[in-house]
């Protein structure tokens, strides 16, 4: 890791010199709990996928600090354009476990009515914009929202999350370029987990860092240890303050590592050795726990209680959601337009007339990515 990267907690959990965080002790504990909650959800969901109970999942193991440290800086008027690897962010912003789980089951309880694959969440009430699969498209959309916020002068901000691979996309370029010119209040948060499926960062860009790309767009670029939740918080807080003060966008690079497979469909042993092991030792949760323990904010007892509580909460949500039926057939035809147009009404009617609802999903279909 290079020297221009902010670190506040050392890998062994010691506070480094510049630990002047404005976070209260309650907040610190809440952050820790959020990180553990995120992992509890992830671990349970990937198991569900392995058991064939949901079709697909994307774990964020090892990237909890990036989600939780950044999630601390947003207000309810802010808008978020997330990637698929930030479930913890949603929980922090107020998404319920039921909503998260229902999305992965894609059944009638899913806020998106099972129209997209698992992990493609959308939370309208939380201003968390619908995730789509195409990489990068949301980055310029985030800028557009931030341009509107700047026009309205309401001190709100937009934040968007993407990976190292996402920096190669067309709309990383347009998103940062438009924001730079407009001085829009937007945080571009890159979780540099060093892999885009099987492609390592060296094949993704020759830039020395991701943060260095900010200069091309006339905005500050900052870097933090993405496994250090306080460092993440600090760079995001500073960027957010600047954004709210009308000083424009920031590109934030959070150095971390994708410890697990890209998704439930991926087998990383095909393309990388045991590099992941060394990152086990840099585990963001463990590190923060040591820090809290040093500050006497955490104990084995609180840990045990938390672990039990969070796992139980996930299991209960699954129990509630799993038994619900799939979305009804008519949901295939609604929401294409504000009103169902005649040709879609006709297609729906023909479907119901000809086939009823008796079809079964193909049990052999398997997703490779």
């Amino acid at each position: 890791m290079t020297s221009d990267m902010l670190q506040i907690i050392s890998e062994s959990g010691k506070a480094l010199a510049d630990d002047d965080t404005d976070l209260t002790e309650d907040q610190l504990v809440a952050m820790y709990e959020a990180m553990v909650r995120t992992r509890a959800l992830d671990e349970r969901m990937i198991k569900l996928q392995r058991q064939g109970r949901i079709g697909f999942y994307v774990p964020s193991t090892g990237e909890e600090a990036a989600q939780v440290g950044s999630g601390m800086v947003f207000e309810s008027k802010d808008w978020l354009y997330p990637s698929y690897r930030v479930p913890g962010l949603f929980l922090m912003m107020g998404a319920s476990l039921d909503d998260m789980v229902a999305n992965c089951y894609g059944n009638e309880a899913d806020l998106c009515l099972g129209r997209q694959m698992p992990v493609h969440y959308a939370f309208g009430k939380l201003n968390i914009v619908s995730i789509s699969s195409p990489i990068g498209t949301h980055i310029i959309q985030a800028t557009g929202t931030a341009m509107a916020m700047r026009m309205k002068q309401n001190n709100a901000l937009t934040a968007t999350y993407f990976g190292d691979g996402g920096t190669s996309s067309n709309d990383f370029h347009s998103g940062l370029n438009f924001a730079g010119v407009d001085k829009s209040p937007v945080l571009f948060i890159c979780s540099n987990n060093q892999w885009a499926i099987s492609v390592p960062i060296e094949k993704q860009t020759a830039s020395k860092t991701i943060a260095a790309k900010a200069e091309a767009y006339g905005m500050p670029g900052v870097r933090a240890d993405g496994n250090d939740v306080l460092a993440v918080y600090q760079v995001c807080k500073q960027a957010a303050d600047r954004a709210r003060a009308g000083e424009g966008p920031t590109l934030i690079e959070l150095m971390t590592y994708r410890r697990g497979p890209h998704s439930s469909s991926d087998d990383p042993t095909r393309y990388r050795g045991n590099q992941a092991d060394e990152w086990m030792e840099r585990d963001p949760i463990l590190r923060f726990r040591k820090y809290l323990e040093r500050r006497d904010l955490w104990s084995q007892a609180s840990e045990d209680a938390l672990q039990q509580r969070e796992k139980a909460a996930v299991n209960e949500a699954i129990k509630r959601i799993e038994k619900l039926p799939p979305p009804t057939l008519d949901t295939m035809f609604t929401d294409v337009y504000a009103k169902v147009p005649p040709h879609l009404r006709a297609q729906y009617e023909e479907l119901v007339e000809n086939e009823g609802t008796g079809h079964e999903a193909d049990p052999d279909a398997a997703f490779p990515l």
Partner: protein, 324 residues
């Protein structure tokens, strides 16, 4: 009523909607001080300022992507793509994002907006300033596709589009941007999206058309009338959702059909019209359905006048369906 060009009609529609609704904003390349390379946004910058009339960097994917973000937040953006030939860098935003946002979020997020863009040949623009891309959009569920053919419709449809809750691709036939002029009311009116217009009533055959092909269809019908054949000109105006009822009604009445479009024939929009009739009204047909279209080649510069469908070529098709 005033006689104005289609460019002016578009300009007035934008101006009026911007006056009526502070959330309407215009963005694109050269739309600001310059007023657009076709002058469709003339004077808007002076009246509404930098925040609502935005000159963007040279990136169509940026223009549409930013507009989506604005629309999600509640603005009502009207992005301009300078030529529809340059819309492809934005196609991912349009087809993957704009068209699917409402559906994939089950209505939690919507991005109503109007993507305005001049299309079609007739200005000696060659390869990349002349194409007719409608079929790429009409195959994309979630989009509304509108093509006006008169100044009246241009203003009325554009106002309706801006007020609509759906994303609209608004294709402006640049060949008829400046002529002919047409009568346009000074007061507020809209033209309903999703309704075709019969431009000429007839009993012997139907010509379907839209945009700059409307006057060509009319001219061809004049020629046909000299032979005693009365053609019905159906100007579709909205291509998606299509006014299928009007299409089937006209063909049922006439029993013969000529499909006219500027775009290349193969898998063009007109093929859908043929397919619908062959599926739902094949029995009324007294002759094959003839298509008159651009050739299946890239749009040429020097030979533009040969490439583009004109009344004589339409007349050949009319001859064929009438004498079959």
């Amino acid at each position: 009523m005033t006689e104005i060009t289609m460019v002016q009609a578009v300009n007035h529609a934008l101006r009026d909607e911007m006056r009526a609704d502070d959330d309407v904003v215009v963005l694109g390349e050269d739309v600001g001080v310059n007023g657009g390379v076709f002058r469709c946004t003339a004077d808007l910058h002076a009246e509404f300022g930098d925040d609502r009339v935005i000159d963007t960097p040279l990136s169509e994917s940026g223009i549409i992507g930013a507009a989506i973000g604005m629309a999600l937040y509640g603005l009502r953006p009207v992005p301009e793509i300078q030529f529809s030939d340059f819309i492809w860098p934005a196609f991912d935003q349009i087809t993957s994002e704009l068209a699917k946002m409402r559906y994939r979020s089950a209505g939690q997020f919507t991005c109503p907006m109007v993507v305005r863009t001049p299309y079609g040949g007739g200005i000696r623009g060659g390869h990349y300033h002349s194409q007719s891309p409608e079929a790429y959009f009409t195959h994309t569920p979630g989009l509304v596709v509108v093509v006006p053919s008169t100044p009246y419709d241009a203003k009325g449809l554009l106002r309706a589009a801006i007020r609509s809750e759906d994303p609209v691709i608004f294709l402006e036939p640049k060949r008829i941007y400046r002529a002919p002029k047409g009568e346009v009311p000074d007061d507020d009116y809209t033209v309903e999206i999703g309704k075709a217009a019969v431009r000429r009533e007839g009993t012997d055959f139907t010509i379907t058309c839209y945009g700059a092909m409307m006057p060509v269809a009319m001219e061809a019908c004049e020629k046909a009338a000299e032979k005693g054949w009365q053609g019905e000109v159906l100007d579709l105006r909205t291509l998606l959702p299509l006014d299928e009822e009007a299409l089937l009604a006209s063909v049922t009445k006439t029993g013969r059909m000529v499909v006219l479009q500027e775009a290349p024939r193969f898998c063009g929009f007109g093929s859908e019209l043929s397919a619908i009739v062959a599926e739902k009204a094949v029995d009324v047909l007294e002759a094959p359905i003839k298509r008159v279209a651009g050739f299946d080649v890239p749009f040429p510069y020097t030979l533009e006048h040969v490439y583009m469908p004109h009344a004589d070529r339409v007349m050949h098709a009319i001859d064929e369906v009438m004498t079959y």
